[in-house]
């Protein structure tokens, strides 16, 4: 082949391109719109899965205000059937954030929901196969949706992500807010009023008790109890103290003694007492401890038992706190009459050393000694830090906070 041949060849090639180009140009009038439609279909396929009767979608995320961070995108169904929200959520167990897609009809009910990405170490779908479908037909109140026992953090994160999606729609007046039932409003008050009741699980109900929860760390019980027309939230801590709240969040313990008595009776039958364990611990820490007396505490945190005792005439207080880090923690504090920590101990800090990659090991004795002498004023959380073990550190921190709070409550009550 020489230059002349090459030029001729190129001329023929261009002619062929021209012929086929014209043919394809014509064909494009037929296939172009279908291909465009198909591409759109692929983009919206996950949205169609949760809203099968949708005609077309339009992303409206950028037009909305105050979108929670966990909401990835919001799509509007163009014929007005509703909205589809894509959201993400993560827990300390997530390798990557979980991602979910759910459709909300124009009247504010979930019409379809699915998990798109899930990498948490515990799969709540195997713990409760119906958890995700239980969201169907629910409005923004998400009534009767609890958590999955054994996968509390992951299922809570999932539920929170759905709530965040709803709040994005509601705050932009796209749908109306669902009405929450009294019992639901009361249940949602538990984490605020009794922050120490961790890993709530459903418990058996009886009498006027509509709903009962047992805390997984044995820090007490929570009840929704009906009295007359109204429902009340009753909280009973590990030492049997009870508080009753109405739907508005007001403390009505004095007025509703019947409710309090029913809750106390129910709790007393099931509550595990930690006084004996604490007494044993105190005698081990102070061989000469005398006059060990159990104290009823009126705080609702992670402290499950408290005692007062005397060593050589000096007064001390012992506390047992059950916070949850990577595992259930058992933390003990002894505080002297002046409010300074005399001793700190725990059954075990790091339960599963292999879990912490790069965990350098810790000097338990030095760590415990770091707490000694701290008072409410000098405690700032630093003493609780264990390098590379954030969850355990946070649990110890919570225990310390709670013990100081309980101590102050006892001292305040005594004065």
């Amino acid at each position: 082949m020489n230059i002349k041949h090459l030029l001729k060849t190129i001329a023929i090639l261009l002619a062929i391109v021209a012929v086929f180009g014209v043919a394809m140009f014509g064909l494009n009038f037929l296939t172009g719109p279908i291909i465009a439609e198909n591409n759109k279909g692929a983009e919206f396929a996950p949205l169609l899965a949760v809203m099968p009767d949708a005609e077309n979608f339009e992303e409206v995320t950028s037009t909305l205000a105050d979108i929670p961070e966990s909401v990835i995108a919001v799509y509007k169904e163009t014929s007005g059937k509703g909205f589809v929200v894509r959201a993400k959520a993560s827990t300390q167990y997530s390798k990557e954030p979980m991602e979910l897609t759910f459709g909300v009809t124009a009247d504010g009910k979930i019409c379809g929901i699915q998990l798109d990405v899930y990498t948490d170490s515990i799969d709540f779908r195997t713990k409760d196969a119906n958890y995700i479908t239980s969201f169907l037909e629910k409005d923004s109140a998400l009534a009767d949706i609890g958590t999955v026992s054994g996968a509390t953090y992951s299922s809570t994160a999932f539920k929170d992500a759905v709530s965040a999606g709803f709040s994005a729609l509601i705050s932009n007046q796209l749908i109306a807010e669902g009405v929450k039932s009294d019992s639901q409003i009361l249940a949602e008050m538990i984490p605020t009023l009794a922050p120490g009741m961790l890993k709530l699980e459903d418990a058996a109900v009886s009498g006027n008790i509509e709903k009962a929860w047992k805390s997984g760390n044995d820090a007490g019980f929570a009840y929704v109890i009906k009295s007359g027309e109204a429902s009340y939230l009753a909280l009973v801590n590990a030492t049997g103290a009870c508080l009753v709240y109405d739907v508005a969040g007001a403390d009505v313990t004095v007025a509703q003694t019947a409710v309090a008595d029913e809750a106390k009776a129910h709790a007393a039958a099931a509550q595990k007492s930690y006084v004996d364990a604490l007494t044993t611990k105190v005698t081990r820490l102070y061989a000469s401890a005398a006059e060990i007396t159990s104290i009823e505490i009126n705080t609702f945190n992670t402290v499950v038992a408290a005692v007062s005792f005397k060593v050589d005439g000096a007064e001390y207080y012992g506390f047992y706190s059950r916070s949850i880090g990577f595992h259930q923690m058992d933390v003990y504090f002894v505080i002297d009459a002046n409010g300074a920590i005399a001793k700190m101990d725990a059954n075990q800090f790091i339960f599963d050393k292999e879990y912490f990659h790069g965990f350098a090991g810790m000097d338990d004795a030095a760590y415990k000694a770091g707490f000694e002498g701290l008072t409410t004023d000098t405690w700032n959380g630093d003493a609780a830090v264990i390098a590379t073990a954030t969850m355990t550190s946070n649990a110890v921190k919570q225990s310390t906070d709670d013990v100081f709070a309980t101590f102050n409550a006892i001292k305040g009550g005594a004065q």
Partner: protein, 203 residues
């Protein structure tokens, strides 16, 4: 008729065709839908190319034959790709660049150069038909094995009782080689065609 198919499917098709076409045969044999789509694309583009080439080969100077024939194949492949993208988008998604790469596949070109270039339309079409059907059948057989055993599904539908026993390696690249090699060996064994094939290879 029986003879015709036997010739077309097995003996009449030199194993060279498969050596050259091994790439797209393996690329599209992980899923039956992809195999059928690719088969159809190969068959149609081969027949159309044969017709056009046998009609115009007299007007193309010898030095320009290769680029011209290749470009004609490309044209038909592009048109088929457009139609598939519109009506069978899932197949195009699965095949990706392989569908377009068919344009420069030596199989179709060889068919055009060696058969259509010297013969009339009918002979060319018959050869194209036999080669195309042969490749399609091979692809479908491989795809059946790879999709069912490797992916525990058929035509994209999951086979529940196989889900726990799937050999995912079969659906991957290595499975492509393994299954095609075994299928070819089985065909050779069953038909006693290997002597014949080897003869042609030695030519």
């Amino acid at each position: 008729m029986k003879n015709f198919f036997k010739t077309c499917l097995l003996r009449g098709t030199p194993s060279m065709v498969l050596a050259l076409g091994a790439g797209f045969v393996m690329a599209s044999s992980a899923d039956i839908r992809a195999a059928l789509g690719m088969g159809a694309a190969v068959l149609i583009s081969m027949i159309l190319t044969s017709i056009v080439v046998s009609a115009i080969h007299k007007f193309i100077p010898a030095y320009a034959k290769l680029p011209v024939y290749l470009l004609i194949i490309t044209g038909f492949v592009s048109i088929i790709e457009m139609l598939m993208e519109a009506f069978f988008p899932i197949v195009v998604n699965m095949l990706g660049a392989h569908l377009a790469a068919l344009a420069v596949s030596a199989v179709i070109y060889r068919d055009a150069e060696e058969v259509a270039d010297h013969n009339g339309e009918w002979t060319s079409i018959k050869t194209a038909l036999s080669t195309g059907i042969f490749l399609t059948v091979i692809m479908i057989v491989c795809a059946l094995i790879r999709e069912v055993l490797g992916n525990a599904s058929i035509w994209g539908h999951e086979i529940a009782f196989l889900a726990n026993y799937k050999v995912s390696a079969l659906a991957g690249a290595f499975g492509g080689y393994l299954v095609l090699a075994c299928v070819l060996a089985a065909i050779k064994k069953l038909t006693g065609a290997h002597e014949h094939l080897e003869e042609e290879e030695n030519e």
